[in-house]
């Protein structure tokens, strides 16, 4: 060990600096990913609708995200007269901050996480359940009917889908015997949980769509009925933060799906030429696949009605996930496969 390593790994200050460096190493690629996800979404939607998508700024429209960012920065942030100023400003910061915070525990490769904590999956669940506050506060602080309606819809929707999401997570935890995300991925060495727990995988992904307020569950925004829902009063950078937060949440849900069901950083083909490829590559590749499905769904399905969303969450997903949870527990118990941590 040279002196720099000793400083970074043993002294208090060194550990703080190391953690900041690790966070930057995660957040910078994440933000670039978010920027280019906006472009990818417009390109894929363009292809689905037989258009070209953005193709003017730079080669293949590659500078479009930067052009958008500069445009957003140059615009004026307008705070409505009747708004609650402090909360109005807090809401987008909260949304975006939480979307980034959750990444602290995601393992991008074996033991490559900023914090490899015991209760990693609970941490992600807790952070994503806080995400609803950004939306409620925005809707209330705007002091506008449309924003308020959007916030109310979103609150009910996110709370409902968290229930079945919780049962899915419990099922996975039961199969692993640990709440640590690293252990959850390593438990999938032989078979990805997407295969034995296939219905739960589908429920988790669809609940993820609802949790991020994405189409076909985007009635918190509902452009055709309530203009833009909870962020109708937002402009410029405060709007951009909501926008980026939504995309960061999409990537987060994709990463969580990958960790819980698609074997995380593990190679899909566990033999020699594929296992040479570093785990980070596979992890990012699987996230891309999930994100493509997110965009594909948006380009294909029309928006659900409010009561249909509630019926799907409470009358379809909740019973299925509950029954599957009990069945999994029974199966593991009967065949003596329960992991004893």
């Amino acid at each position: 060990m040279n002196s720099l390593e000793t400083f970074l790994f043993t002294t208090d200050l060194g550990i703080v600096i190391l953690t900041i460096l690790k966070s930057l190493a995660l957040i910078v690629p994440l933000l670039i990913g978010v920027a280019y996800l906006t472009l990818a979404e417009r390109k894929v939607l363009g292809a689905i609708q037989l258009r070209k998508g953005p193709n003017v700024v730079g080669p293949f429209g590659l500078w479009q995200p930067f052009a958008d960012a500069i445009k957003m920065l140059m615009k004026e942030t307008i705070i409505p007269a009747g708004a609650n100023r402090a909360l109005f400003v807090l809401a987008p910061l909260l949304t975006f901050g939480l979307a980034v915070t959750a990444w602290a525990v995601i393992p991008v490769s074996n033991h490559w996480a900023i914090a490899n904590i015991n209760v990693g999956i609970l941490y992600i669940f807790a952070i994503s359940s806080l995400g609803v506050y950004g939306i409620i506060i925005a809707g209330w602080a705007s002091n506008s009917k449309y924003a308020f309606l959007g916030a109310m819809r979103s609150a009910a929707q996110m709370v409902s889908y968290e229930v079945s999401m919780g049962f899915v997570i419990v099922t996975v935890i039961m199969c692993v015997g640990s709440q640590n995300l690293n252990d959850i991925v390593l438990a999938q060495r032989h078979i990805w949980f997407a295969i034995p727990l296939f219905p739960m995988f589908i429920i988790f992904f669809i609940s993820g769509l609802a949790e991020t307020n994405r189409a076909p569950f985007d009635l918190a925004e509902g452009d055709t009925e309530i203009v833009a829902g909870f962020f109708v009063e937002y402009s410029a950078m405060s709007f951009a933060l909501f926008f980026l937060g939504e995309y960061a949440n999409m990537i987060l849900i994709s990463a969580t799906t990958t960790v819980l069901f698609l074997g995380g950083w593990l190679s899909p083909l566990p033999f020699i030429p594929f296992t040479w490829i570093p785990g980070v590559f596979w992890f990012v590749f699987k996230i891309f696949v999930c994100l493509f499905v997110f965009i594909w769904v948006r380009g294909t399905l029309p928006r659900y009605r409010y009561d249909q969303i509630m019926a799907l969450g409470w009358k379809v997903f909740l019973p299925i996930s509950l029954v599957w949870l009990v069945m999994t527990a029974g199966f593991l118990e009967i065949f003596g496969m329960l992991p004893h941590a």
């Binding site: 015991n118 609970l122 109310m152 609150a155």
Partner: protein, 211 residues
């Protein structure tokens, strides 16, 4: 040293926001301060090494219960100036109840004996090298299984009660019944009529109520 300072800081924020919950003028602000309270309590749990309890507190209370509080507070248009007028009238009763509770607590505290082993175990939430989720489960599902089941039954009763209170036959509303819509055939609703020139067609009987 640093742990103590952090404990003082977070408990101070906790108590401060608890005061703000009852004293802030805007009910939405009250709920937000309540959330701050919960989060600080979770941090205190985390500092004591009880990470499972900390995160469950955030998930259950902040992520679900407080959202519903917020929902109710925003939807109900409570006139707080009216409520505040009543404070003068009800303050003595509230104070009396508070005093009785305080005296009772004081009586209990005087006779309270702390077990000799307990003081040393204050910051040891899990025995040995068990994770504290496993430790909690191994106690809750063995020694306290009946109490645990009882708690579940109480919650179930409360839930059924809430459903019964809100369940009504909504005949007045136009709710969609997907089964009826899917089983509808063209023959049920559509009939071809040859209208005579100048006379028009009479409406078949089964369509009259639809018109």
């Amino acid at each position: 040293m640093i742990a103590n300072l952090a404990f003082d800081l977070f408990s101070a924020i906790l108590l401060g926001s608890a005061v703000m919950v009852v004293s802030s003028r805007n009910p939405v602000h009250s709920v937000l301060f309540l959330i701050l309270c919960f989060i600080n309590a979770a941090i205190l749990f985390l500092m004591a090494g009880a990470e499972f309890l900390a995160l469950v507190l955030v998930i259950v209370y902040v992520g679900a219960v407080a959202v519903l509080f917020m929902f109710v507070v925003m939807m109900l248009d409570v006139d707080f100036s009216e409520l505040r007028e009543g404070v003068q009238r009800y303050a003595p009763i509230g104070a009396a109840v508070g005093l009785v509770l305080f005296v009772e607590l004081a009586f209990v505290m005087v006779n309270w004996v702390i077990a000799p082993g307990a003081a040393g175990m204050r910051l040891l939430p899990a025995p040995g090298n068990m994770t504290n989720t496993a430790a909690l489960g191994s106690v809750l599902y063995t020694n306290y299984i009946f109490l645990f089941q009882l708690a579940g039954a109480v919650l179930l009763v409360a839930m059924i009660g809430a459903i019964v209170l809100t369940l009504r036959d909504r005949k007045r509303g136009k709710t969609q019944d997907i089964d009826i819509q899917h089983s509808r055939m063209p023959a049920d609703t559509l009939s071809m009529v040859n209208a005579k020139l100048g006379a028009g067609a009479s409406v078949p009987a089964r369509h009259e109520d639809a018109l």
